[in-house]
Subunit: 201 residues, 2 copies
């Protein structure tokens, strides 16, 4: 059976990666977003194993200690992380997984999951990024400057990524299609298809 592949999508705030990932998932429902584990309480309507895996703080810390989290972070006093077992099981079952994640976590996961494919999504340049951030109208000058500086640092990590997809304004659909082409192509790599040789012997 065809094994699943893990696709990491990351990019600076303002790259539009959330929209691109949503378009990708709705156009290709066979792809699944990785489900994070968290120690925060489920909100009304949230379902364990669908929105998050809800686990206790003790269990989360035990999983960190025993190396069972592919990556994790804290936010507002709660842990959020990517559980290794669930990801590996889904891949074994042939499920392709999309993981939207920051650059630090992306690099950690790429080291631990062999064959993980890292795709960086960026705006075409820092001017467009700045215009997008200002266009939101929700962030102070200081925050915008910080985000631009951070974007610069993130984009410098491109050589550690496998692919770059540039998200021009109002092109989320084309961008999602391009990511899908990358997903298709990755499955055709000869390293994943050695079993054809047996079919000729």
């Amino acid at each position: 059976m065809r094994k699943g592949l893990l696709f990491i999508i990351s990019g600076p705030a303002g790259s539009g990666k959330g929209t691109v990932v949503n378009r990708l998932l709705s156009a290709h429902p066979e792809l699944k977003l990785s489900i994070s584990a968290t120690t925060r309480q489920p909100r009304p309507g949230e379902v364990d194993g669908v929105h998050y895996y809800y686990i206790s703080k003790d269990e989360f810390e035990e999983r960190i200690a025993s190396g069972k989290m592919l990556e994790y972070t804290t936010y507002s006093g709660n842990y959020y992380g990517t559980p290794e077992k669930e990801v590996r099981q889904a891949l074994e079952n042939g499920q392709d997984i999309i993981l939207e994640i920051e650059v630090d976590g992306a690099m950690q996961i790429k080291e631990r999951i062999e064959g993980a494919v890292a795709i960086m999504l960026t705006p075409p340049n820092s001017q467009v990024l700045e215009a997008r951030l200002r266009g939101r109208g929700t962030e102070t000058d200081e925050v915008i400057k910080w985000r631009l500086a951070r974007a610069k640092e993130e984009v410098k990590l491109l050589p550690k990524y496998d692919y770059l997809v540039i998200n021009e304004d109002n092109r989320s659909d084309e961008c999602a299609q391009m990511v899908y082409s990358i997903i298709l192509a990755e499955h055709q790599k000869s390293i994943h298809n050695r079993s054809i040789i047996e079919k000729f012997i």
Copy 2:
């Protein structure tokens, strides 16, 4: 400017690569088939630089001696080969090139043109291949056996290729689309897109 990429397509006789390449080129006229050099005379209607580069035997042999042919072969007393200069010039001009070629030549070119992408096209298995070869009704049992044995040797070289695309019966269009996805994905590789970093500095 975006540089062109060279895509090598090879596969056993009966893989249907000729049809797939034709579909690919007619759906995506921006792609160009590599033009071979030959010492045979132009036939009526053939145009130099379009169907072939027609050159003299002396010139062809001089080019072989000075390493200016990426690969070559002889057939019916004439030379046929892939001229290096024309391929490199087209790539520099941003032109993607498709090269349909046998496995031996494919490996020679992959060594000489950095970043050349090798795609192997095969039938799903040797039974389908045999049925296709017999279906042609033009080849003796002996020739068919020889082709099957040769296909087996060719498919064994898959690990030297970058990608495998399986051509099921009557699926040339899907196959051409898959090759096109590979072409799109290859252009997104981070190694070809480092210039984005400057746009954030």
